[in-house]
């Protein structure tokens, strides 16, 4: 390149080195602490489809006659699902209590939850309960456990009916 002085190039290289070193430093800066040093995390998360909101029923001959030929199915089974009512107690204090609506445009999908709870490290009593049927009181599934959480530990509470209900890992 015409007219470029060597000294100028040297200064530019020096400036570039300083800039790039700054960028390299910023690539690992700052140190960020997501939770306090002496605490742990309990995660409540599941994706679970509850019972249907109504039982199947047999259509009457009159109802069937009103339907188009291609839709004359004898049984009428509503797609919608019930909400899943869930509670989580930590050390006998309620930290989560929600009726989780079913997902999907037609409310026929699973209910979902994903929550994080930061707790001090140490011994804790965890109780999770869930209602996924039409019953008004009580729960269909529950788990209760006393756990010792180390600092920085992450404990998950999942719900997997195929494995018998709640799972703590």
């Amino acid at each position: 390149m015409k007219g470029v002085r060597l000294a100028g190039v040297a200064v530019l290289t020096g400036l570039t080195l300083v800039l790039f070193s700054g960028v390299a430093r910023l690539a690992t800066f700052p140190e960020y602490r997501q939770i306090p040093a002496d605490s742990a995390v309990v995660k409540l998360s599941f994706s679970h489809g509850s019972d249907r909101s109504a039982n199947c029923r047999r259509r009457t001959p009159e109802e069937l006659a009103k339907l188009p030929l291609s839709k004359r199915v004898p049984m009428d089974c509503p797609r919608g699902r019930l909400p899943v009512y869930t509670e989580l107690y930590i050390d006998e204090k309620p930290v989560f209590s929600e009726s989780l609506p079913p997902g999907g445009l037609w409310s026929d999908g699973p209910s979902k939850v994903y929550r994080r709870f930061v707790v001090p490290a140490g011994r804790h009593k965890l109780e999770a309960r869930l209602r996924d049927t039409a019953r008004k009181t009580g729960f269909d599934h529950a788990i209760e456990r006393v756990v010792d959480l180390a600092a920085g530990q992450s404990l998950s509470i999942d719900f997997r009916p195929e494995f018998g209900g709640f799972i703590m890992r």
Partner: protein, 522 residues
């Protein structure tokens, strides 16, 4: 408010650019090559990424080990390339935001130039997605933090069937198949980024996508030095039974993450507000757009010089429609034309010497036609009463905006100095309207209309048609490329020209000015 921010930024950029101009000249000035540097960093990241992929194990259990192996025993090749990959990605962020701020400060984002600004918005998103997905692949503690926070952020929007963050609930949740999907994302996002970068430069001609060799060499050398002295390393391996805390964040890519993990709604609101602000910026307030250039077919022979010179791809040649003997004619795309007038300066028909009652050229600006340019030149020169009389042909974007006419200085301000056809200089000097001409445009490395400085220089140097005729006494002509902050340098250059002409005048006086009516009827 916007103007004040622009002025502040412009002042800062201008001082840095002029200092770098002095160091390495305008051609290698990195601040004038930010777009090209962005492309350069992209290719460094792409090539280094392909190299790393050879050694990378895409399985969730082996990913960390394979990256550690690269930075450990194989530090001398794969480790260095890994540092290149990471730091060049970070430098792309720096370059991109500097480029964005510079274009904003130069007001190059409104009017017909909205497209380049607007098309840059998805580019920002693709760059971040490319970098963030790259951080996942290392599968260290930072990767775990980034993966969980990113998916929690996505899950905040109720559009996914199942929370994606559940994939990182515990060690049994994460499969190598999901990890392979991440690898695919990390390849797909940069391809989308490259496509966005290609779209971004579609409305400008001769985009700079490669930095000058000198600058490229300095960048590569510095990257190598930093890669050797401060190599990129992984943090502790990911462990889903542990909270990834503390982590060393990358401030350039992950600055928003602390907010995202504490208040994902606020993070989305911030991103939406930034995106909306960026998208609306070219239209609020809307700039009054001067009328686009207009073709006068009777004077256009379809030579294509205007098409070649237009910095914004606003002109093209098409089949002749008026039955004239020429094969082609130029047509203007009004949506791309910024009315800089460079096409007027490039048209061979744009000569003030033309002997016609109505001075019409092949392509002209309706708001400031060639005939008015000639009238203004004659009138401004006639107002000078003391010699040596200097005519300054200036633009509103450089130091020339500070000029005020005086007894020995006439000022002809054009949208861009390259709007002045070379014959205008000849006209001013040979007809004795002025004793000297100073063409005062933007600083060489930051021409507001991208190519105005280059074209003017090349026309004067007999390198680009239309040429400045050989008979024009070069000693009576000065080109002064000075930014708005270089008023003093401009004044000194004008005074130097005046002194030079005074010396010449003593030996060989310039011709007496012709009567104005002669200029029109000739």
């Amino acid at each position: 408010m916007i103007a004040a921010v622009q002025a502040l930024l412009r002042g800062g950029f201008d001082r840095a650019e002029r200092a770098l101009d002095r160091l390495v000249g305008p051609q290698a000035n990195p601040l004038a090559q930010l777009g090209a540097l962005g492309y350069f960093f992209f290719w460094i990241v792409a090539v280094s990424g392909l190299y790393l992929f050879v050694f990378f194990d895409t399985g969730v259990t082996r990913a960390f080990e394979s990256v550690a192996w690269m930075s450990g025993p194989q530090w001398w090749h794969a480790g260095v390339v890994r540092s290149f990959h990471r730091y060049a990605s970070d430098l792309m962020i720096v370059t991109m935001f500097l480029h964005l701020m510079r274009e904003f400060s130069l007001d190059r984002f409104r009017g017909a130039r909205w497209f380049s600004w607007f098309s840059g918005i998805p580019l920002i998103a693709f760059l971040y997605v490319s970098g963030i997905t790259g951080y996942w692949l290392v599968w260290d503690k930072l990767a775990q933090y980034v993966a969980i926070t990113s998916t929690e952020l996505l899950d905040w929007m109720p559009i996914f069937g199942e929370p994606i963050a559940r994939n990182f609930l515990d060690a049994t949740s994460l499969s190598s198949r999901f990890f392979t999907l991440l690898v695919f994302l990390h390849i797909a996002a940069p391809i989308a980024l490259l496509f966005a970068m290609w779209v971004h430069i579609q409305r400008i001609s001769r985009p700079r996508v490669n930095p000058p060799r000198l600058l490229g060499g300095v960048v590569l050398f510095s990257l190598l030095a930093v890669s050797l002295l401060m190599p990129a390393h992984s943090q502790e391996p990911a462990n889903l039974a542990q909270v990834p805390s503390p982590v060393k964040l990358d401030s350039l890519f992950l600055a928003l993450y602390p907010l995202a993990d504490r208040a994902p709604g606020a993070a989305w609101a911030g991103l939406a507000a930034f995106g909306l602000l960026m998208a609306l910026a070219p239209f609020l307030p809307r700039r009054r757009q001067p009328a686009p250039a207009k073709i006068f077919l009777d004077h256009c022979n379809g030579c294509g010089r205007c098409v070649d010179d237009c910095p914004y791809e606003a002109l093209r040649l098409t089949r002749r429609t008026d039955g004239a003997v020429y094969l082609q004619e130029a047509i203007v795309d009004p949506s791309k034309c910024v009315s800089c007038g460079i096409c007027v300066g490039s048209c061979p028909s744009s000569t003030p010497f033309r002997r016609s009652q109505e001075l019409v050229t092949g392509i002209d600006l309706p708001d400031y036609p060639l005939v008015r340019m000639r009238q203004d030149l004659i009138a401004n020169c006639a107002a000078m009463t003391e010699g040596p009389r200097i005519l300054a042909i200036s633009c509103p974007h450089g130091a020339g905006k500070h000029l005020a006419p005086g007894p020995h200085l006439g000022v002809l301000e054009l949208p861009c100095v390259a709007m002045a056809p070379p014959s205008l200089i000849d006209f001013a000097l040979s007809r004795g309207h002025a004793d000297g001409v100073a063409v005062i445009g933007c600083a060489e490395s930051s021409c507001y209309n991208r190519l105005g400085v280059d074209w003017t220089e090349q026309r004067f140097a007999h390198e680009r048609d239309p040429y400045l005729r050989a008979r024009v006494p070069r000693e009576r002509l000065a080109t002064i490329w000075a930014s708005t902050t270089q008023k003093g340098a401009m004044n000194r250059s004008i005074e130097a020209l005046r002194a030079r002409i005074a010396g010449l005048e003593a030996k060989n006086p310039s011709p007496e000015p012709a009567a104005p009516q002669e200029e029109i009827l000739s």
